[in-house]
């Protein structure tokens, strides 16, 4: 790219240090990814088993119904928690975010139309619009929509990171696919979602079985672990593919002991392997609860390493063009304090509501 195409930074100073916004960006994105993984992976797993299941009593259909009941809150919170990182990324990376999204403007807007279709399909399935056997088809609509959205997100994200491709994409839209990291990134996205959703499903089936034993739950839990195991195994291979698809200079930075990038990568990879080992030993998820929970904790810890690593990689990609650490700052301490108090208060309120509802429902059951 001609560096002159990079838009000028808005002259208004940041109202707090860039590191704080970075922390908020990464933190809220982490929460968003958890919900998104359950929604995306869950919709694919649910649609797959529901479509394969023959008859409404088939365990695959039960699995589909279980995931369907989770999809509407998962999608609601995917969107809600996605708004915060969208805000912070626009603050820190406006100079690359806007050009990239404008260049693929209709595709970017199309994401919302696809999301609307996928989201309403969940309710159409729940209300059995189109007949009692229609749910698997609606679930497939949701899954296809979310898989398509994942592709749009990957394409736009990579375009933000590679300003040198902007002019080519502006001339020919097909150039959008012309980056070697796109396919491994997309697979990374999908496999991660399948792993998280699979494990979540297994744990949930286990919990439900403890409350109301039903032969379908062990079946669901075993399928959940299998999905997580297969996805994590493939993720290992794909992760290495993605690493070596990165620009050479960036790969060198990651591999040559750069702090904190190299240790974060090493920790993430190590935890990924640990998750794989724990999952491979979980043969009976309902009886091997500690192993199952250990795998879940390990996967969560992997995400805790990989999400900040993703942010570090973005910084490496965009340096020296965009360096938020160098933006002018004029801290607005009063509003910042109010935000932090309300943030904590808001989380506490949501936590309180959930706890009260769960307690009352347990008491009445």
């Amino acid at each position: 790219m001609s560096p002159t195409l990079l838009p000028a930074l808005d002259p208004t100073p940041l109202p707090a240090p860039a590191w704080l916004f970075h922390a908020l960006l990464v933190g809220t994105f982490f929460v968003h990814v958890l919900f998104m993984n359950v929604a995306l992976g869950g919709s694919v797993i649910g649609a797959f088993h529901a479509l394969l299941g023959r008859g409404s009593q088939a365990p695959g259909r039960a699995l589909g119904r279980m995931l369907l009941s989770l999809l509407s809150p998962a999608l609601a919170f995917t969107i809600t928690t996605g708004v915060a990182p969208l805000l912070f990324v626009q603050l820190l990376y406006a100079q690359t975010f806007y050009p990239a999204t404008v260049l693929v403007g209709w595709i970017w807007l199309g994401l919302l139309a696809v999301l609307m279709v996928g989201y309403y399909a969940v309710y159409l399935a729940r209300f059995e619009v189109g007949g009692r056997d229609s749910a698997p088809a609606w679930a497939a609509v949701t899954a296809i929509s979310l898989v398509a959205i994942a592709l749009i997100q990957v394409l736009v994200n990579v375009l933000q990171l590679t300003p040198d491709r902007w002019t080519a994409v502006g001339v020919r839209l097909v150039a959008l696919f012309g980056d070697p990291t796109i396919l491994p990134r997309y697979l990374h996205f999908l496999l991660g979602s399948l792993a998280v959703a699979g494990l979540f499903l297994a744990i949930l089936a286990g919990e439900r079985h403890r409350k109301t034993p039903d032969p379908v739950y062990p079946w669901i839990a075993a399928r959940g672990v299998r999905w997580a195991l297969a996805a994590t195994g493939l993720q290992m291979a794909d992760g290495i593919w993605l690493l070596f698809a990165l620009p050479e200079e960036l790969l060198r930075s990651l591999m040559r002991g750069r702090f904190p990038e190299t240790p974060t990568l090493a920790i993430g990879l190590g935890l990924g392997f640990l998750t794989l080992i724990l999952l491979s030993r979980t043969l009976d998820p309902l009886r091997q609860r500690s192993l199952l929970h250990g795998a879940a904790a390990s996967l969560l810890a992997t995400l805790l390493a990989m999400i900040p690593l993703r942010d570090m990689v973005r910084s490496l990609y965009l340096a020296p063009l965009v360096r938020p650490q160098g933006f002018p700052v004029q801290t607005q301490a009063d509003v910042l304090t109010i935000f932090l108090l309300l943030f904590v208060g808001g989380l506490a309120t949501v936590g309180w509501m959930i706890i009260r509802v769960v307690r009352e429902r347990r008491a009445s059951a």
Binding site: S2, P11, F21, P73, V83, L87, L91, W108, W166, F343
Partner: protein
């Protein structure tokens, strides 16, 4: 401007924002007023042990979640997407100034969605007391979201003391903050009343619903009164130039003003007439008509509020073509194209090409060549010399239009380009096709 341009064929980017924003605000204001209506109905019905109204409240909560938690949430993100595409510079400026405002609003949005889903999902599954608490939390969070966003939305038309101080609170509590809050509170009640009519229209017990429809009509009419009072207060606080775009004969937004006012009057007649005098006329058609009229009232106001900012996107700070007021002098000296680098992409050297680049970067956000606000219509029959004089005169701007900015060479080039546009078939570029340039 500094960014590539997102071209929207036929209607232009402003209308794209308008359509997405109007659809969203109708739903989001319904979410606020509907939240209050549903929880208040439940509370009163539970106290009186009124099973019919409890069932209605439950149905209304389902409708609320289906409409607001899905369409409302996605269209809210849609506003982010569209303003970022059409007005990236203005969006970046707003975010730099009000990121904490939006972050606080997001906290309440998060609480709102969590409370809405819990409220909807726990009817008859938890104690009434806890269920009502969830409902009140939902409404409070939704209303506080409105209280915060109202500050940022009104700021764009009346930034007030922020222009000098650049202080967050000066921007939020600007001259139209309180009038707009009254107006939007009224709209929330009005939307709740008419959307609740839709839900009531599906109730089978025709006799039982009559009293309910009267109450809902009261909500809508209360909202209408508050909306009208808020509007009068709002219009008294907007700049004279903005009012001049709304009301007098020949004003740019006069038709919108009368459309909104007319819809408000008809809505009042429909709601009062059917709600109190002709209950037999109540049904799905009447309810949908009321929704359409209320949507027209609100949509007209939003269009007026957006349009009244012209020639600015943020009054006194940034023009609608993304040029900041404080950079016009520099651009006149150093050249507009030093800023609008994207506009020069793919343009061959020469004065005509320079003019085309200036047109892309400075005019095309509002004017297409032959479609929406077609520039050809304005320049037809004029030659380059006459257009140069006209453009030089427009350096001082005109009502609703930003001043022309650039060096003499750029203005001459723009005039040459516009003369070529006036003369015949559009010289290849922009305007008639979608996509980014």
């Amino acid at each position: 401007m500094d960014y590539p341009l997102f071209l929207v064929p036929t209607i232009g980017g402003g209308w794209l924002i308008g359509i997405v924003a109007i659809l969203h605000v109708i739903i989001s204001h319904f979410a606020v007023g509907g939240g209050l209506l549903v929880v208040a109905t439940e509370q009163l019905a539970a106290r009186r042990n009124d099973a019919f109204r409890l069932a209605f409240a439950r149905k209304l909560s389902t409708f609320l979640v289906l409409v607001s938690a899905v369409f409302g949430a996605i269209s809210g993100v849609g506003i982010w997407f569209t303003i970022g595409l059409v007005h990236p510079a203005a969006t970046a400026a707003l975010i730099h100034s009000f990121v904490w405002g939006w972050a606080i609003e997001w906290v309440f949005f998060f609480i709102e969605i969590a409370a809405a889903l819990l409220y909807y999902g726990t009817w008859e599954k938890i104690s009434r007391r806890l269920h009502l608490t969830l409902g009140w939390i939902y409404f409070a969070a939704a209303y506080i979201s409105l209280v915060i966003i109202n500050g940022i939305v009104t700021f764009m038309l009346t930034p007030g003391r922020w222009l000098e101080s650049r202080l967050f609170w000066d921007g939020i509590f600007n001259p139209t903050y309180w009038p707009s809050l009254v107006l939007r509170s009224g709209i929330s009640l009005m939307m709740a009343g008419v959307f609740a009519w839709v839900v009531a229209a599906w109730l089978r017990d025709v006799d039982g619903r009559r009293g309910l429809v009267r109450i809902l009509s009261g909500w809508a009419l209360g909202g209408v009164v508050l909306t009208a009072l808020g509007f009068l207060w709002w219009q008294a606080n907007i700049p004279a130039e903005a009012w001049a775009l709304l009301f007098p004969g020949g004003a740019l937004l006069r038709a919108t003003f009368f459309l909104g006012a007319g819809a408000l009057v008809v809505l009042t007649l429909v709601v009062a007439g059917i709600g109190y005098l002709l209950p037999r006329g109540f049904g799905v058609a009447a309810a949908l008509l009321a929704v359409l009229l209320a949507g027209t009232v609100f949509g007209s106001y939003e269009r007026m509020r957006e349009g009244a900012r012209k020639p600015f996107v943020i009054t006194g700070y940034m023009y609608s073509n993304g040029i900041r007021v404080d950079e016009t002098e520099r651009l006149n000296r150093q050249g507009f194209l030093t800023k609008a680098r994207w506009a020069s992409l793919g343009v061959t050297p020469g004065p005509l090409a320079m003019g085309e680049a200036v047109f892309r970067g400075q005019c095309q956000m509002c004017h297409s060549l032959t479609g929406y606000l077609a520039i050809r219509r304005y320049v037809e029959g004029q030659d380059a010399e006459g257009l140069t004089a006209l453009l030089e005169a427009l350096r001082g701007g005109r009502p609703g239009m930003p001043p022309i900015v650039g060096t003499e060479e750029e203005i001459t080039g723009l005039a040459a380009y516009l003369a070529a546009v006036a003369a015949g078939p559009a010289p290849a570029p922009a305007g008639s096709t979608g996509g980014a340039r």
